[in-house]
């Protein structure tokens, strides 16, 4: 199916800059652009590809100013990346969707299933489970007893959800996600060994949450581990028992959050960050990759780096001086020597 630049511009409420009749039937990255495809430019790092790309159409921000001549047709939009998302969403929704129940699957008689759902072969639906409308359960998914799953949520192949957890609507969990495994709770006993503290709480995940492959969210010791609406978790993240992550916070891969920590709204947390338990992080905090957060962060919008982390800009300064420590030591030696000379005069 072909769309002209003019068609697309209308759909996106954008403006054509160039030949509006040129047509595309696919998408490509600007650096690998081919005729008949549409690309986008949002990251300035990639601007130089715009002048040589073979893509027939490129989405750019309204504010973009070209520094050289451009052969391709531009469509100027408010936000090129958002517009790409809208286009791809339309494209995805036009594809045929999985529906129906494949055999063999295991569906408890007490489970309640919504309309237009998909349950793949080898999926396991436990007792008293409730699945909303349009839910997609791929093969090898395990949904434990009493789990509730909201409308339009997709659980990809191999997702595991332990008993009693609540999952919202419009969520996407990727393969290998584990929701509701036991928190890491052990009471030290006198004999140098540990007694397990049974974890009798659950996990509550609100709407519009996406969770990446092999990420783990542990159930609460008591009460609930909570992930609020709009949160996006990347792959291989650890969320410990009784953690709470507030709305629209975004966390990159391999970050770990220890027990009972509370993370604010709209935070942006880099990859491989570690956050100690029993503390809180204010709203809109940004944390650089590989940082370690060891104390409560009270100020909204703080930007942090380091392990343990402190403010980003001072960290950067300290790190530059860390690199220059050998030079600093030489200066010290030099001063020492000159001082000695003076003292001996």
């Amino acid at each position: 199916m072909n769309f002209t630049a003019q068609d697309i511009a209308e759909f996106l409420n954008g403006e054509v800059d160039g030949d509006g009749s040129v047509a595309v039937n696919s998408v490509s990255r600007i650096e690998e652009g081919k005729p008949g495809t549409l690309s986008f430019l949002a990251n300035p790092k990639y601007e130089h590809f715009l002048y040589t790309t073979q893509s027939s159409i490129v989405l750019v921000n309204k504010t973009f100013k070209a520094e050289h001549e451009i052969a391709t047709t531009l469509i100027r939009v408010e936000d090129a990346y958002q517009s790409l998302a809208s286009l791809l969403e339309m494209y995805e929704q036009s594809k045929p969707q999985k529906i129906g129940i494949e055999e063999p699957s295991y569906i408890s008689k007490s489970a309640k299933l919504g309309e237009k759902i998909y349950i793949g072969a080898f999926a396991y639906i436990g007792s008293n489970v409730k699945l909303g409308d349009n839910v997609k359960i791929y093969p090898h998914v395990y949904v434990g007893d009493n789990v509730v799953i909201g409308d339009n949520t997709t659980l990809n192949s191999g997702v595991k959800i332990y008993e009693n957890c609540n999952i919202g609507a419009d969520c996407i969990f990727h393969s290998g996600v584990v929701i509701g495994g036991d928190g890491f709770g052990f009471a030290p006993s006198s004999a140098n060994d540990y007694k397990k503290v049974p974890q009798v709480g659950n996990v509550v995940i609100e709407d519009h949450v996406e969770i990446g492959a092999n990420t783990c969210v542990d159930r609460a010791t008591m009460g609930s581990t909570i992930i609020r609406k709009g949160v996006k978790l990347d792959n291989l993240i650890q969320v410990a028992h009784n953690v709470e992550i507030d709305e629209n916070t975004v966390i990159a891969s391999q970050t770990g959050i220890a027990g009972s920590a509370k993370i604010g709204k709209n935070c942006m947390i880099g990859g491989q960050v570690g956050i100690v338990g029993h503390l809180s992080v204010a709203d809109e905090v940004k944390i650089a990759a590989q940082s370690g957060i060891g104390r409560t962060i009270k100020k909204e919008g703080t930007v942090l780096q380091g392990s343990p982390a402190f403010d980003y800009a001072p960290y950067q300064k300290s790190y530059v001086l860390f690199k220059n420590l050998p030079k600093m030591r030489e200066q010290l030696f030099d001063l020492e020597k000159r001082l000695k000379n003076l003292e001996e005069e």
Copy 2:
């Protein structure tokens, strides 16, 4: 079912401080306490909640001294966290347990099954497998050929155990755990590529080991990767080939231990720690989160931090000075200037 403070105190061998006739039927966290529930106080950080909690009963340590008036009934016990564990354990054991074999499942004819076991739908039990009594195998678990599993062990949905591994009694493995994947062993060859070294060993896990979701324990190249009794591993941990972890060591999430490292008894290892291969760590060593261990640690009870790690207290000092490096440089400049003045006099 209701229990009075007096009932619970007797079960825990504790003392009631307040109204012994007050009854509870559930548990809650002290900061979310509700009437009719029991909470506990172990971490002093949470003490202030005690004076306002709505919980009907709170477990506290015998040694606890209140600083304000308390409305709720206290039960004083030797160790509040341990006592909570005992109570929750009783509660868990009172719930109905999974038992029997669900269909479809795949059980090799040569497998030997103990009594009172549970095998969930879509579980796979290979040739010559031996399962002890009361073993629970949840859906989508894979138990490879010749694996032996001791009494009372639970494998949650999606656990994978490769052939020839031995698992002890009273173990709990959470979803996504992989036991016995090939170690990362490749012999460099002349042509800049690698020849796989087949991993012909296995994994041996002793009794009372708990392993968190998506943690991986690789099989040995030759011999065994060994996890001794009482070890507790959190989620997303990497244990490489031929590692040995001694009794009752506890390791937090996302830590990685490279090939052939030997970890002592009763160690406490924080999250996101990295331990280099072919070294050993003494008993009772404590390692701060995000540290990197690059050399053998011979002294028992050492406390370490940093990457590469050294003793905790000096690390803390160095890190404070790292933060102050800009100030230190200013001091250097100041000295330089003053020295120059003196030299020019």
Copy 3:
């Protein structure tokens, strides 16, 4: 089955040093050596075990010179570790191989299966999938629609491959590997929440790639995430959307590579390394464990450490001085004091 030292030396093109008639039927690690087994010595750290080992035969490098008397029979070969790999490979290939299709499994009618394949129970093969000859698909593997898998590739229990991905020949993926989950792409919208950017690309993995347990390789937003031939990935690694890893690069456990990064050939990347997105790393670069790469590395063969990383040797120097910062501060104080004395004279 027994092999004499003479037999093995011939197979490996090596030389017997000692009794050529001694026979073995198994392998063991040199530090755990038993009579009737063969061991190897490659890492000099383990040399002292050679003088006391009970192993009947030990493979050593041709260049090895003993410092003490040796009781066991040596076989001298070009490369002891490579030779061990060859022997173990022969041993592995002599074992019976899984073959045939176990029931119940789910195989789409439109799938094309090669010869001599193994498909385990509860495996799921989607529409239009193509499996090459000798492919082994273990239980609980999910192969999404339109996936192509080359000859001799093994997918261990629980591997998940999303639709439209291409996997080469002679690959081994371990349990819990997820190939083709959605990249972490979200366009910020005005209301502080995020719009998902559908990920319409795929993953292409070339021949002879081995991927460790629970490692994740995300599909591209557009185009392909690419892993070139001979790459070896350890467990729990994150490879984000549109990353490209070039031939024969080896990456240790728990490392993460962010979106659109390009990694060169023959690189050696340690464990728990983080690599920022949209940059490139030259061929033959070596990166120490726990390092963070925040900028493009242009020079081939660079060796890096730190977070953010810089050249290995200067990093080591700076880190030694970091440890000595308290001493450096004392020196500063001392200079300050002496200077003051001079100034007051």
